[in-house]
């Protein structure tokens, strides 16, 4: 072990503890080529349980403006949930199209092959943030987790974050409040009856297995 390597590690530790946001890459670059692999392991050993430094306001502000942080929180706020961004990232990392993912899901869930296009459509809506993740079956999350090699809990956790985001958006844009006047009940009652009739009327098309998986909830 070279003294230089010891010193570099130590300087990283001091910079970290001081909240100076040291960059591993800069410190590795200072080490001789042959030492970099070992030094990386030592830096990681420290980072795993290192105390989080007491960041200054400026440092925290800079962190919030990091593209990864800004994107992650921006996407979550804009699309309502964390899941779409995570799913898209995982799929792209696997270099798979939505259709290919759908094909794998159909096979893993033993669905009829005719359901592939519909599965792809649901997956696409899920990635777009246009399908409420709470309606998606746990079996789908299990299959996706297996396919993407991630823990199912993480995917479901990302889906569950939707509830938080929905609450958050509701608080930002409060719904208008109306006070009903005396005739309101009579005016509204006939509309309610029409709505009740419509809700009670059976749909023309029955849900199939794919619909149940993506709309039937967990």
């Amino acid at each position: 072990v070279t003294l230089e390597r010891d010193q570099i590690l130590s300087e990283f530790i001091d910079a970290w503890n001081a909240g100076e946001r040291p960059d591993v890459d800069d410190y590795l670059a200072r080490a001789p080529e042959a030492d970099r692999g070992e030094l990386a392991g030592e830096l990681l050993a420290f980072l795993t349980f290192a105390p989080t430094p007491a960041y200054s306001d400026e440092a925290l502000q800079a962190i919030r403006h990091e593209p990864i942080v800004a994107d992650a929180h921006g996407v979550a706020a804009e699309r309502g949930v964390v899941l779409p961004a995570l799913l898209t990232g995982l799929r792209e990392r696997m270099s798979m199209s939505t259709s290919e993912v759908a094909g794998e899901l159909v096979r893993m869930l033993r669905l009829p092959s005719s359901g592939e296009a519909k599965t792809a459509s649901y997956l696409d809506r899920l990635e777009q943030g246009k399908l409420e993740p709470a309606r998606v079956s746990r079996r789908v999350f299990e299959a996706l987790a297996m396919l993407f090699r991630v823990p199912r809990d993480e995917l479901e956790g990302a889906a569950d974050m939707g509830g938080w985001a929905a609450v958050s958006q509701a608080m930002v844009s409060p719904a208008p409040v109306f006070r009903a006047d005396k005739e309101a009940a009579a005016d509204v009652s006939r509309h309610l009856e029409v709505l009740a009739d419509a809700l009670a009327t059976p749909g023309g098309e029955r849900r199939d297995e794919v619909d149940e998986l993506f709309l039937g909830g967990r």
């Binding site: 503890n17 990681l44 929180h73 090699r149 991630v150």
Partner: protein, 222 residues
């Protein structure tokens, strides 16, 4: 929003969740994850498939860190443990998994582009035909160790765990330097002055101590 320590944020997150204040809990969790962004990003850069081997290619750092960051945010929906050390261990596992997943992507790409991994074997080069498989194997072992660490963290918070780990060290010299590093957060120069030793000694004891501490935290749970 000014800085607040991790253990304060984690405790508040649990209190808010218990009271059903999910919006507040989400904001508090966000603060906790932001506090730990550098830990995630720098751990991705330091990640190695096995001791001393190569890490992720530089172009993958951003994507891997981004995925790990999202996965840590997602943890907030179900995180039940109040100990901040448990959070650090779970975070380390997220980063590790994300990096391993990106490593698998590289392996697939190599297979597609070169026909087979064996076809790229260079007997005189550093990289061998089984590098990726060995890296994955090492990674699984490492992940298992982290699981075991998490179990222990159920019982102790991070500061206590680190303090306990430091207390287990056989070398008094390493122990006192690590207490100054992790607990008191003293810079190397100040530690050297207090202990009356050279800077070179501090550097050496810190490195050995950091590695010994990590080994203690892993092995004690096996």
């Amino acid at each position: 929003m000014p800085y607040e320590p991790d253990h304060v944020l984690l405790r508040r997150y649990h209190e808010e969740r218990d009271r059903g204040e999910l919006e507040m809990a989400a904001q508090t969790w966000e603060g906790l994850v932001v506090n730990n962004f550098d830990r995630i990003k720098q751990s991705v850069k330091a990640f190695r498939f096995s001791a001393g081997s190569r890490g992720l290619p530089q172009p993958e750092w951003g994507s891997a860190a981004s995925e790990a960051y999202l996965r840590v945010i997602a943890m907030g929906a179900n995180f039940r443990k109040p100990e901040v050390g448990r959070f650090y261990a779970a975070l380390a596992k997220c980063v590790h998994n994300a990096c391993m997943d990106y490593g698998r992507k590289d392996l697939r790409h190599e297979r597609h582009s070169a026909g087979s991994v064996d076809a790229r074997f260079d007997p005189d080069g550093e990289a061998g035909p089984y590098d990726a498989a060995l890296a994955a194997y090492d990674g699984e072992l490492r992940a298992r160790s982290i699981d075991v660490v998490e179990d222990e963290l159920d019982k102790q918070d991070a500061a206590r765990l680190v303090a306990w780990g430091i207390g287990q060290m056989t070398s008094d010299k390493h122990r006192e330097v690590l207490e100054m590093t992790y607990i008191k957060k003293l810079p190397a120069e100040e530690s050297a002055q207090q202990l009356g030793i050279t800077m070179d000694n501090i550097y050496q004891r810190r490195r050995r101590g950091v590695l010994e501490l990590e080994k203690i935290l892993r092995d004690s749970r096996a």
